[in-house]
């Protein structure tokens, strides 16, 4: 991990939400050739400069969270992961 003092300095007022999760269970295999329907990387989610959709979701403590409840004074890091189960 980076130096904690520097980390705290740089991350001041930013909420780091949903950090890295470990995902296992699936063997790593290449996607089948000719697979269709994959969304190009640049088109996954809203673009830089756009606003994220309004959302509300419950966390592991049962609390409903929104952008307003999650963000720090300088922003929020929001991570989407595939699954915490498998």
């Amino acid at each position: 991990m980076p130096d904690l003092h520097l980390l705290n300095k740089s991350l001041r007022n930013i909420t780091l939400c949903l950090m890295f999760l470990v995902e296992g269970g699936l063997a790593i295999t290449a996607a089948p050739a000719g697979q269709t329907g994959a969304v190009p990387v640049a088109e996954r989610g809203p673009a830089v400069g756009q606003k994220i959709p309004v959302f509300a979701a419950r966390d592991q403590f049962g609390k409903e969270q929104t952008l307003a409840s999650l963000t720090g004074a300088d922003g929020l890091v929001l991570l989407f992961v595939r699954s915490a189960d498998w």
Partner: protein
């Protein structure tokens, strides 16, 4: 945020002592609103009994008003930015010097990396911070007629991703009436590399039976080629051997208890 139900996230958070919010989107409703549903439901992409509506994995850095300032998504599900990688992209000063460094007569190089530990499928940032003595310059990419500084990795199966060379500055030789792009002082070259399961690593991992392991040290070798000059003399082109070490871990294979798992609708 994941498409798991809240019970799965609660159990997962307890198992890994996670206290930051894990958000449940069991209907993939928010994931859909973000435009992040992965349509590939083939067995190569998700377990056959798992429900559909997976999210493409990736990060958003969002301002308090909801404006996206940066986003980081990999091509495949086994191409994922580590949290540290995202942090050092947002704050490069957080890159810390590794145990190793290299030097020769004209330059000294500190080696840095976003992660010393990474699971398979992680995208890790490696960096070389070059320190030049007073009065010495090296040539930057794009130079004509001189050898530009270049970082090359011999990764043997570890795919290379984004590379970064900092902006150079122009240097004019009055006598030659020539202006060239150079670096002086200290500058940093960064290169992302993807830790994937190649044949050699696979053999290592077959020794583990799942769960968290102690990891395998994987050296990543690189060459820094450059030509150092002063305003009076140019030294012969030189190459410096570099080595980073990443401890690569198997992914966690432990699933949630059967009673709380989500299953695909038949």
């Amino acid at each position: 945020m994941t498409y798991d139900n809240p019970e799965i996230l609660k159990e997962f958070a307890q198992r890994f002592h996670i206290t930051y919010p894990l958000l449940a989107d069991p209907q993939s409703e928010v994931i859909g609103r973000f435009g992040l549903i992965d349509p590939d439901n083939s067995p190569a992409n998700l377990l056959e009994d798992s429900k559909t509506g997976l999210a493409y994995p990736g990060f958003f850095f969002v301002a308090p008003d909801g404006t996206i300032k940066e986003k980081y998504f990999g091509e495949k599900y086994y191409d994922r930015f580590t949290a540290n990688n995202v942090l050092v992209k947002l704050f490069p000063e957080l890159l810390e010097v590794s145990a190793t460094h290299a030097a020769d007569a004209h330059i000294r190089v500190d080696l840095k990396q976003s992660d010393r530990n990474a699971v398979i499928g992680s995208r890790v940032t490696l960096a070389a911070t070059v320190h030049l003595p007073e009065g010495v310059h090296v040539y930057a990419p794009g130079v004509k007629g001189y050898k530009p500084v270049q970082l090359t990795l011999q990764t043997e199966g570890l795919p290379l991703k984004d590379s970064f060379y900092p902006p150079s500055h122009p240097l004019t030789f009055g006598e030659l009436d020539e202006t060239v792009p150079v670096y002086t002082g200290a500058f940093e070259i960064r290169q992302d590399v993807l830790v994937v399961l190649d044949k050699n690593l696979r053999e290592e991992y077959m020794r583990f039976e799942g769960g968290r392991d102690s990891g395998t040290f994987v050296p990543i070798h690189g060459l820094l080629s450059y030509q150092a000059c002063t305003d009076k003399v140019c030294y012969p082109p030189a190459t410096l051997a570099l080595e980073w070490m990443v401890r690569v871990h198997q992914m966690d294979n432990e699933r949630s208890p059967e009673g709380i798992r989500d299953h695909r609708q038949k």
